[in-house]
Symmetry: C2
């Protein structure tokens, strides 16, 4: 007896043997290869396109050729005539296995793309959305069998698509008869089933054949809201948009927003309305840009820190303003878009990722999902720096998480010459260790300040301040050039050598820029950065203690901060522990990408829900070692930790701390932590 043909699907590599005559789509589904189909094998939606790879695949022992698949059938010929079926493409609903095959599910954005990781890695994410479109042709009403119109749709969805026991969104009841008649007894149903164990719901109905379904992935940051419009049928991102979080007018940082709620009875409602309105506007923007009807948006995933999460859901965040920082809800939230006043299709669902803890929100969960420390063999450190830094550390065996109160210094607040990133802001700095003369680069010009033409290139924008992420670089360069000691004190003796060092009262400052306005890096600026970085490092160190490790294998810097800083300088200052620099990467808006993953594959929802319950949450405020780590981390890079890997690439100044670790900065404020804010 000869064996059944072997079918191998690419790019997933999933394979299995199937009897001759098996439709390719059935083989794919049996192997868990997700292939979209809206028309239920009628050969009209074209979503299930595949390609036969021809040739001999030695590794798999397969010879694949066009003889090994059925010839083009009538449905495929009709589809090719009416629409565009590229040469070599087949409809997997209408093509049948005849011999060994290597089948490629094409990465064609218009058809059935799987999701490919943006820039920094190429890993493939399979699609398995919570929403499916199902086209059915329904019996006309019959007085002898007086089943309701909706009931006959349901019967057909059961017969053709296997959906039993469907729940029905109530808003459809008044519409069903008009839709069915407009479609002449043909209708496309949108079915939502998030958890495979739960009852599926009929959430939308479109007259006739309908081949569009979209989702929204949105990261609600305290400063910025970023939103993506994604095709649920092809997986491609159609449009993206972002805006400032309008809650900023109620308070710049999270805690001032919580205070606002506590002081103003209507404060919570105002902030909830503000963020929802901003999201609705962004949805309008992306839909207009992509020419998509909002009625085709059926699923939405939101992430955000706990306070944004609560305010979006209309929950008073007051409890998050003080110990024990109790979340109203930590698990994943399933909701209706209409319940949250998000105006898309009335049946559209919202999914919010779980929060990890009172300070480690759904955004951190999304970053975790995206980077996947829990999927690694090695120890991965994931850091998302904002006013609080969220830190996740671990591997497939154990993952721990914490939030560390870094304060706003990394964002340029509390820094005398700090400003937001904008044209004219200094973004790069180098200091000559011999002369102590700086050179800078500003946003809006590609030239260094010592290059010819710099003055010209900045004549309109000017040189106006130091942007948040560059503060790291300034202080690190000051440290590397010996202007500040590892305990962070600006060395006043250097004033003799360079007029860049100037005395202001009891302390000294470094003159970074002399132009229309003078920019000084003051002792207090350095101290602010030290406090912030010590908090971050102490949090990381605490998690390393929990893991029982003294070094990490890889570091992912999430968020805008991570995108703009140079990892080398972050390590020179001791924000992060020693690590091969090539294993430190900026991963951009990992929270938004995690949201998109959860939108496109409900398997990721279960993965992150499961992971969050297993993550061990460390509350830094309750850990006796935090204060000790914090004090040691005030020094650059650190009082006690060695940085051998960094030292191979950067010449670090020699240690010269006093034996007891005391830091003499000449100011009354010495050693000690910060209150959480």
């Amino acid at each position: 007896m000869t064996e059944n043909p072997l079918v191998l699907f690419m790019p997933s590599g999933k394979r299995g043997r199937f009897p001759k005559g098996t439709p390719v789509i059935d083989a794919a589904r049996e192997l868990g290869v997700y292939v979209e189909s809206v028309c239920g094998g009628r050969g009209i939606c074209g979503r299930c396109q595949c390609e036969v790879q021809e040739g001999k695949f030695a590794k798999h022992g397969i010879t694949s050729s066009n003889d090994h698949i059925s010839v083009l059938g009538p449905k495929e010929i009709r589809y090719a005539e009416k629409r565009d079926l590229k040469a070599g493409r087949r409809l997997s609903c209408s093509a049948y296995v005849q011999g060994d095959l290597v089948i490629d599910i094409p990465q064609d954005l218009q058809v059935n793309a799987q999701v490919v990781r943006k820039a920094d890695d190429g890993r493939i994410i399979e699609r398995n959305p919570a929403v499916h479109l199902c086209y059915v042709e329904v019996e006309e009403p019959d007085m002898h069998k007086p089943l309701g119109d909706l009931d006959r749709i349901m019967a057909q969805l059961e017969t053709e698509w296997g959906y039993t026991d469907l729940m029905i969104d109530q808003h459809l009841l008044p519409q069903v008869q008009k839709i069915l008649r407009a479609g002449e007894w043909k209708v496309t149903a949108a079915i939502h089933q998030d958890m495979d164990s739960s009852r599926p719901s009929l959430i939308a109905l479109y007259p006739g054949f309908h081949n569009e379904a979209y989702g929204i992935a949105c990261d609600i940051g305290s400063t910025t809201i970023a939103l993506h419009l994604v095709s649920l049928l092809s997986g491609s991102t159609i449009a993206s948009s972002g805006t400032s979080n309008p809650q900023i007018r109620f308070g710049e940082d999270l805690m001032s927003r919580v205070s606002y709620v506590m002081m103003n009875p209507e404060g919570r409602e105002g902030m909830t309305t503000a963020v929802r309105t901003a999201i609705n506007n962004l949805i309008q923007n992306v839909c207009t840009e992509a020419n998509v009807d909002t009625q085709n948006i059926l699923d939405l995933v939101f992430v955000g820190n706990p306070i944004m999460h609560h305010l979006f859901l209309g929950i008073d965040p007051t409890e998050l303003g003080g110990a024990p920082f109790a979340l109203a809800v930590s698990g994943a939230v399933h909701s209706w878009a209409s319940d949250q006043e998000i105006f898309v299709n009335k049946g559209a669902r919202i999914y919010m990722l779980p929060c990890i803890a009172g300070h480690v929100g759904a955004d951190a969960a999304a970053v975790t999902l995206c980077e996947g420390p829990h999927r690694q063999d090695k120890q991965m450190l994931v850091v998302d720096v904002g006013t609080n830094a969220e830190i996740v550390l671990g591997n497939r065996h154990r993952t721990v998480a914490a939030s560390s109160p870094t304060g706003p210094a990394f964002e340029g607040a509390e820094i005398s010459c700090g400003q937001r990133a904008a044209p004219g802001a200094i973004e790069r700095v180098r200091i000559d260790p011999e002369t102590l003369e700086p050179k800078v680069r500003v946003i809006g010009s590609t030239l260094w300040s010592d290059e010819p033409g710099f003055a010209n290139s900045t004549s309109t924008i000017g040189v106006t301040g130091v942007c948040g992420s560059a503060i790291i670089e300034v202080v690190a360069e000051m440290f590397l050039s010996g202007i500040i000691s590892e305990d962070g004190v600006i060395d006043g003796k250097l004033a003799e050598k360079s007029d860049r060092i100037v005395q202001e009262g009891r302390t000294f400052s470094y003159v970074l820029w002399r132009g229309q306005q003078e920019m000084l890096i003051r002792q207090t600026d350095v101290r602010a950065i030290q406090l912030a970085k010590a908090a971050l490092y102490a949090g990381i160190k605490l998690l390393m203690d929990k893991q029982g490790i003294t070094e990490v294998d890889t570091i992912s810097f999430a968020g805008a901060f991570g995108t703009f800083i140079d990892p080398k300088y972050a390590m020179v200052l001791g924000l992060i522990p020693d690590c091969d620099l090539e294993h430190v990467k900026a991963v951009g808006n990992a929270a938004g990408y995690g949201a998109k993953m959860a939108l496109l594959n409900k398997g990721y929802r279960r993965e992150i829900e499961d992971t969050v319950t297993k993550i061990e949450k460390i509350e830094t405020a309750l850990e006796p070692d935090f204060q000790r780590h914090f004090v040691n981390a005030m020094a650059m890079p650190n009082k006690l930790e060695p940085f051998p890997k960094l030292a191979k690439q950067v010449k670090l100044p020699k240690r010269q701390l006093m034996a007891d670790g005391a830091i003499d900065d000449g100011s009354p404020r010495r050693r000690g932590g910060r209150a959480r804010r």
Copy 2:
């Protein structure tokens, strides 16, 4: 080895053997005896009270005594001290089996009543509502275990009550923290689980221990809306109220309301708002009367004919206005009260019974559930008379249903001296067959018109018309006294014998009342009743044909009409087929009672859903035999059918129809059906 003790529960008679030490509540639940418990065995809710019946129960071979149950425990003693525990009562959560027992679940309305059929029979209906209250004590928030407040409630509901995988109503998210803190980490959760196979939902939360939960059962009639407030914890009806359906201002009968919708673009919305407002007002009334907070209403069951059903749900009923009379939805509808703008607890659910067909609605389903032809061994005919008559006929093997277009004559419309039931309206009539003199009784007086004092007793109310149900009696008495022949013609020759017979144009009339105003029963009035009763009888006959039977065993007359007419006269006129009069009963508002059954026991929901799918629907308009039956049924009681059982109790006039069945009424309108309206 001795056998385990035998425990018998009354009044259900369910029994089983259980090891000594089994809590009585566990024994009950294992046997499917529903015993309420809110506090989860803490001995504080008192809902699970039971009584030990003492003595020897020969039939069951049981000797039951107080020795056979554990002595009063500390929880019971505490409960008895704090609240009122009647002598002999036990808490079944805290009392343990020690020997053979006969346990009575008391029919105490304040505690745990089962539902007893109102007046006409005594059958017991067990309770198993879709909503349960569950009291839990929740852990306080802990920074080391940062589970959200809601998540800790869920964890406790799983541990104590076994609810896994609960869904959460979104409106609870903003409330959960305040409720939990107001209750000092104690909270009572309302869980809704309608289908046992579906995921349960957390629909309401109350701070601390909460021992109240109510439901609404409502019959939305085209003329009247009747509504009952029912305790879900005890089963008792707390208050009832009714009102005219305010849609009457849009059209007196159903079809004129459908026309109104077709003519007015905003018509549907206006009628939906009107009926919902009326229902909200009724809910306010019953809650005020019973001093119940609307926030304690958690489940609502609605029934109504298809047009009322659709208008309540906001569905345009236009399709029901013409063939093929397509329902938008025929299956049971599950919804949120808030979605239908019914203002009770925001998490409250609505259940609407399924519709049987385009003319046989959820009200007929409720009547079917109440009367239960599908539960009978014998053939039961259930008739609900309105503008259309809904007819259900069958037994446990097969049930058939139809709607017959009786028109409004039975409701007093189209009758020259007809009026609504009100003081002064004639409700009873007897005609002396010798003298042809009538005597009457009017609403508001207990005297017959030939009794002394009648004039006095009606001096203020007067004698103003004939109420709908009495029309049957007048015409039947006219037939029995020979004033009209069985073909319905008023015999003009009798004018010679009595001045009660008067000529008006080509036909004759009967003077029923001479007073301030003269009331005449005209030939057209008799004809209107004949047409209505022929339609009803023809529909019934069609169903009997389908069942292959020539007589029915029992007849239930549902609705107000059935309550007020005398079944004897209904049969004399031939509204219904021949039957022992003692097996013909009026069953009152069976639709409302069916709604109440579905409210109190979700098992009845499954029963009627299952029954409705099995009922064979007969569309009278499509049945060729309908017209023939209709023509035969124009005669009184019927041209062809014998009424031997009736004849034993009532002296029927001798047959004298012409051989060909033609009816000579002297008017141009002869034989023939009516257009459905």
